[in-house]
Symmetry: C2
């Protein structure tokens, strides 16, 4: 589920002016600009513990218990292409929602599925998509309890809404990072588009462990890419982040496709769809967490930075880069922004503009 | 939310045979055939009180309390056309889901919205859709707690998932009709496509009244049309229905567009999107219900038939029609079926094929 991204003041001002003229398009304001716009002035009711702006919404359904709700579509040509099998389409549609619930420390429980398919879509393919949904659901302990099937004008669109629950006191939001907290990620980043985004399993056990034992002060899943997602963690927690570029774990897929360290770091920061966890933890806990983690999970756990005061912004630092160069957040994974070329992203690692990576 | 429809045996047999050949299309089996197919062999877990096949799913979230979940999209060119305003699109997207919750006796509480819009969609229009969603939500006491915005390849698609709650003992499903129970509808039917389907308010107060006072033994909202929806009520309750054609309340819109009584009845049975309630009640309660209803609601309440044993099937009877003529259920509102011409429907009221109505 999309959150509210920080948006540059000048863009907002321009947006507001253009809106007055009524000639602005979604591509001018971007997905997060749009969500920010519709969230304006909205106040959550008493039953709502967490509304717009986190991985999932949380509402009160019983004493000490929260219901988590999240809803994300997969759309042909946007979230998958012709290389995806039908089962992978169904799998991804379920898993990207489960990943949102997991990132709050929640246990996924139920899902409803809205499938829009072309009228003459082969039944065999529709059943294969369903099989992917079912297998993913089974893998995650989710029960598909309902849904709807409608005709699309063209292409496949599967929208899963996933429901889960979590004890109120165990929920981890994006809002708990404090200056000084260590910034960590699970697994390795980048190159997901080669394959992983269609086949990943959300980090459910890892997220539950981090939430239930109180290790994570703030957490989210990496769906849009570290650069973009850190921006949201930053905004919700009211902190800044220093990211150690040379510490970022690079996936084998990103290494394969890119020779230079810089290109690989770009992949890791901007490809998106890693579906790994990024979280913060108080510095005093880091060593203990590492030991407990190693006993429990074979998956890599890497400290990639540290939370700083808000005014710090987000900066990527490493030996090779100009110290303190400010990260320009790439909007590659913003669904509407027009000024980002398809399949490419830009950010300033050393003050120079560089183009995107290959996976 | 779509349910499981009865499907003719021969069609199923043909479907199965064709599926073996792997060359079947959704248009051959239809929406309900497809849903029936994917529901095959599915067994609900312990937390699931009601899975596929009713207006909404019901899951257990606390002692004596059920969470209701339903999810329906509105898609440009399918659920609305160029005559709909943007606000109406948002309104309808919310209200058709709230209507499903209401029909189970539930109180709508929360919603998440997944909006797929073209990249260059005007911000002004996106905000108008959001305004429609917000106004509908406010009207129904629903809080929009989250969602996602994605780029569509073409056209507007808004998928709302609505959540509500209901006391376990007050929930009304489609399964409680028994032979002899009276069959009633609220309001007047037909001609919704002229306007009502974009502007309706779900019968929330009426549904709550029917559920909380225990008047309704089975209930659903009329979304696909009386002919099609009765088929689902029949299937879930394991009964038949005799429908008194001359008792069906015809809307002013359907009367305006059609001169003959027969054409008007066709509209009322097949237009769909009435978003009225159809329900059954034990015969001993009918007179008392009528009195209590009249004290409370100005809306018409009409007995249009009676539940019969399962073997009766669905028959439409009236003075003008051949006695006992069997209703052939029109599949006009099945999203996939190919053998139904767009905007037209066919059913056999007197043994002759007749074409659809005008609204």
């Amino acid at each position: 589920m999309a959150g509210l991204s920080f948006w540059r003041q000048e863009a907002l001002a321009a947006a507001w002016a253009a809106e007055q003229d009524g000639d602005m398009r979604l591509s001018d304001i971007g997905e997060f600009g749009f969500i920010r716009r519709i969230a304006r002035g909205r106040r959550a009711g008493r039953s709502v513990v967490l509304g717009l702006g986190d991985d999932a919404a949380a509402v009160r359904v019983g004493a000490g218990k929260l219901l988590l709700v999240t809803c994300d579509p997969v759309i042909e040509g946007i979230h998958f292409d012709a290389t995806a099998t039908d089962e992978q389409i169904g799998w991804k549609a379920m898993m990207r929602n489960v990943s949102d619930l997991a990132a709050m420390g929640g246990a996924p429980r139920w899902a409803v599925v809205s499938a829009a398919l072309p009228r003459d879509f082969p039944l065999r393919r529709a059943l294969a998509i369903q099989r992917g949904l079912d297998r993913a659901a089974k893998r995650c302990g989710v029960e598909i309890v309902g849904g709807d099937t409608a005709r699309s004008r063209s292409g496949i669109q599967i929208t899963v809404t996933a429901l889960g629950d979590v004890a109120s006191r165990k929920m981890v939001t994006r809002a708990g990072a404090r200056p000084g907290h260590a910034l960590l990620v699970t697994g390795a980043l980048g190159g997901s588009r080669a394959r992983k985004h269609r086949t990943f399993t959300p980090r459910m056990a890892e997220a539950r462990f981090l939430a239930e034992r109180g290790w994570a002060s703030a957490m989210m899943d990496l769906s849009d890419g570290l650069a973009s997602d850190l921006e949201r963690l930053r905004e919700r927690s009211g902190v800044g982040f220093e990211v150690f570029a040379d510490k970022i774990p690079i996936s084998a897929a990103a290494r394969r496709g890119n020779a230079s360290r810089e290109a690989r770091v770009r992949c890791a920061m901007e490809d998106g769809e890693d579906y790994e966890l990024v979280f913060t933890t108080p510095p005093a806990k880091v060593a203990r967490l590492r030991r407990a983690w190693a006993r429990r999970f074979p998956l890599a756990l890497t400290q990639i930075g540290v939370a700083r005061p808000r005014a710090f912004g987000i900066r990527v630092t490493n030996a090779g880069a100009r110290a303190g160069a400010k990260l320009m957040v790439a909007a590659r994974n913003d669904h509407f922004l027009r000024n980002v070329r398809e399949g490419r992203a830009e950010f300033h690692l050393r003050g120079r503009r560089r183009s995107g990576c290959r996976a």
